[in-house]
């Protein structure tokens, strides 16, 4: 892949990130003259004088006492230093620290879900496509109808009801001390696995079905291509055709969908985390929303969009490595 292409892609990603940052800066300022009103909405039992004092303090604390343009420049400078701002929580923790604390816990769920989905999904999908019309093929097709027409959290609720409460296989709510008591001992790791089991199972089903259907369709469409017919005509064995010719070429669309799910690894499990009370990014964001913690919310937004952009960039570059045709065109599609 040409150096110019990589450079152009990186530059473009930075440009988009800059626009996203600018949008982020203005979101808390929509509809109010003074962002302090957004940070501390007026309470019913406050007198005007009291509220004025609170607003004044907020302005000083968060630097709203200068012009909007100066605030914007300051915001950019702060982000350049890797500082996502200061949360309004007690003790004013740095947003970046709060995120760093939660990201691994979200990744525990999302990465294991993705791995289970990719491994089992590709195996099941390839087999289903190979035995077109077999029972597994039909099962994949009907399962995909069900998982697209039902929200993922509905299955999670059912699993929580049966595996969590009825049969008591796994804890239905995460142990609230899970994060604070974690110390890399064997017991702690086992405890995490036990608590994570239910959210992982609940989300993995949809993930497996998704990848299985993707693989199946991809394999079937590749199998119908001329070069596969040529390979068969040459007298190659079934296995050689499947592994060397079909699967290799069927991987391209799967890499794309993998890339798309990578960008959702951190921010994509808000509802699941809420159902199982899992202490990840999703619950961090929902709590920030409930307490009107705008610096934290906007910090998380920047972090998530930056991560998504990075994931897109890496997927694009990987894609151009895998598919030489991208080189010629200079851009995807």
């Amino acid at each position: 892949m040409g150096k110019g292409y990589v450079f152009k892609r990186i530059l473009y990603t930075l440009f988009i990130f800059f626009i996203v940052i600018t949008l982020n800066f203005f979101i808390p300022r929509i509809g109010v003259e003074d962002p302090a009103e957004r940070y501390y909405p007026a309470q019913g039992n406050m007198t005007d004088v009291e509220y004025e004092i609170i607003k004044q303090l907020t302005r000083e604390q968060y630097g709203f006492d200068v012009s909007t343009f100066q605030q914007y420049l300051r915001y950019l400078k702060q982000l350049l230093h890797g500082d996502l701002g200061t949360s309004m929580q007690a003790g004013s923790p740095k947003v970046i620290d709060l995120i760093a604390e939660r990201v691994p816990w979200t990744l525990v769920l999302s990465v294991s879900t993705m791995l289970i989905g990719v491994v089992f999904g590709i195996l099941i999908g390839a087999y289903a496509a190979w035995k077109r019309g077999g029972w597994l093929d039909n099962a994949v097709l009907s399962a995909s109808t069900i998982t697209t027409a039902l929200p993922g959290f509905f299955l999670a609720l059912l699993f929580s009801l049966y595996m969590g409460f009825e049969w008591e296989w796994f804890p239905a709510y995460t142990d609230p001390n899970l994060v604070s008591s974690f110390d890399w001992s064997l017991d702690a790791i086992l405890n995490v696995m036990q608590n994570a089991a239910l959210p992982i199972i609940a989300t993995a089903i949809g993930s497996i079905v998704g990848y299985a259907q993707n693989t199946r369709n991809s394999v079937i469409s590749v199998s119908d291509e001329d070069f596969i017919i040529t390979a068969r005509a040459k007298g190659l064995s079934n296995e050689t055709v499947l592994y060397k010719h079909v699967l290799r070429n069927a991987m391209l669309p799967i890499v794309t969908s993998l890339g798309m799910s990578v960008s959702g690894l951190i921010g994509g499990s808000v509802v699941i985390e809420q159902i199982f009370n899992w202490n990840g990014m999703g619950t961090l964001f929902l709590n920030a929303n409930n307490t009107n913690d705008y610096p934290l919310m906007m910090g998380i937004m920047i972090f998530l969009s930056g991560f998504a952009l990075l994931a897109n960039l890496v997927t694009d570059l990987c894609y151009s490595l895998l598919d030489p045709r991208v080189k010629l065109g200079g851009a995807r599609r």
């Binding site: 027409a149 808000v270 509802v271």
Partner: protein, 324 residues
């Protein structure tokens, strides 16, 4: 024109997928319009202290809620309204915005095209669910807000599809002729090019509506919808917080789930049927299918059916809205 539209519905009705979709959708519309007559109890009545947490019985077909003693069957019927209204209105708004943006990008081109396509790129990166949460925090919780946000984020996929189609139509002789005749840009865009992409818009409305219904359930579940309305997502949230899991009241969870499934399923079927009707590539597929049919291989047919289902460029736009 009237004859033409009749013909269109007839074709959809003759399509097996379309027919199941239409039947279920009609049933849901009937429930939504006449909920007040179908529902045996007032679903907003939270004062039935003696009737709390009943199991399904003849008088309460799906039991009552544990916390407030509301009749779950009546809530299920009323929940149809939110799902259908949010889904359909968003689907239609998205089609309008997507068509406008796609037409502008494709036909006007130049700086307009660049601006619109860069906006699409930005929209694809911004984490939708967190942004929706922030915006409901700013503008207040209402279904109007949800429709607005979904529309703002949902048009991107459709605009891309429309744009590429417009780029093809732009070079056709009849458009060239209209240009030479001195027709204005707007006239050409809306009178000559728009009819060429209408089928895409109708299809996208059905498929987007289906995706939005799933997404709406997720947002209502998180409590971002109108707190006073009854919706299926909110019913699930109530069931979770009201102890349905703890007491094993599966009917309280399964009921709204079936509601969501039916509504999404019916619109998906209609969308897929429309796609098969309109997409010329599919017609080629149909030719091959006939050939295979004559070989008496019914399975191949189902493979073609399913393969068609997967090439839906616009189907995912709604589903992306809530990735959870």
């Amino acid at each position: 024109m009237k004859k033409n539209s009749n013909n269109f519905f007839l074709r959809l009705w003759r399509h097996p997928k379309g027919r199941t979709g239409i039947i279920i959708a009609m049933l849901l519309v009937f429930c939504a319009v006449f909920s007040a007559y179908i529902a045996p109890y007032d679903p907003y009545d939270v004062t039935q202290r003696a009737e709390k947490g009943l199991a399904p019985s003849l008088s309460h077909p799906l039991g009552t809620t544990i916390t407030t003693g509301q009749d779950i069957f009546s809530m299920l019927i009323y929940g149809t309204r939110v799902s259908l209204i949010v889904g359909l209105v968003t689907g239609i708004c998205t089609a309008f915005l997507g068509a406008l943006m796609g037409l502008l990008a494709g036909y006007v081109g130049g700086i307009v095209d660049t601006l619109i396509m860069r906006t699409v790129d930005i929209m694809l990166v911004i984490p939708t669910l967190p942004l929706t949460i922030v915006l409901t925090n700013i503008f207040g919780k209402s279904y109007f807000m949800i429709i607005f946000i979904f529309t703002i984020f949902g048009w991107t996929g459709l605009a891309r599809v429309i744009r590429s189609q417009v780029l093809v139509l732009k070079n056709s002789n009849y458009v060239k002729a209209a240009e030479l005749a001195g027709a204005s840009r707007w006239h050409i865009m809306f009178r000559h090019i728009l009819p060429g992409v209408t089928h895409l818009l109708i299809m996208s409305t059905a498929l987007t509506s289906a995706g939005i219904m799933v997404a709406e359930a997720g947002l209502s579940f998180l409590g971002l919808g109108d707190p006073t309305a009854i919706s299926w997502g909110k019913m699930l949230a109530d069931a979770q917080s009201g102890g349905a899991l703890l007491f094993g009241h599966w009917w309280w969870i399964v009921a709204p789930g079936i509601g969501i499934f039916l509504s999404v399923f019916s619109f998906m079927r209609i969308g897929l049927a429309l796609e098969e009707m309109f997409n010329p590539r599919m017609k080629q597929g149909a030719g091959v299918r006939k050939l295979f049919k004559s070989l008496n291989n019914t399975y191949i047919q189902s493979v073609f059916d399913e393969m068609n289902e997967d090439d839906t460029p616009v189907a995912s736009s709604g589903k992306e809205a809530v990735q959870a």
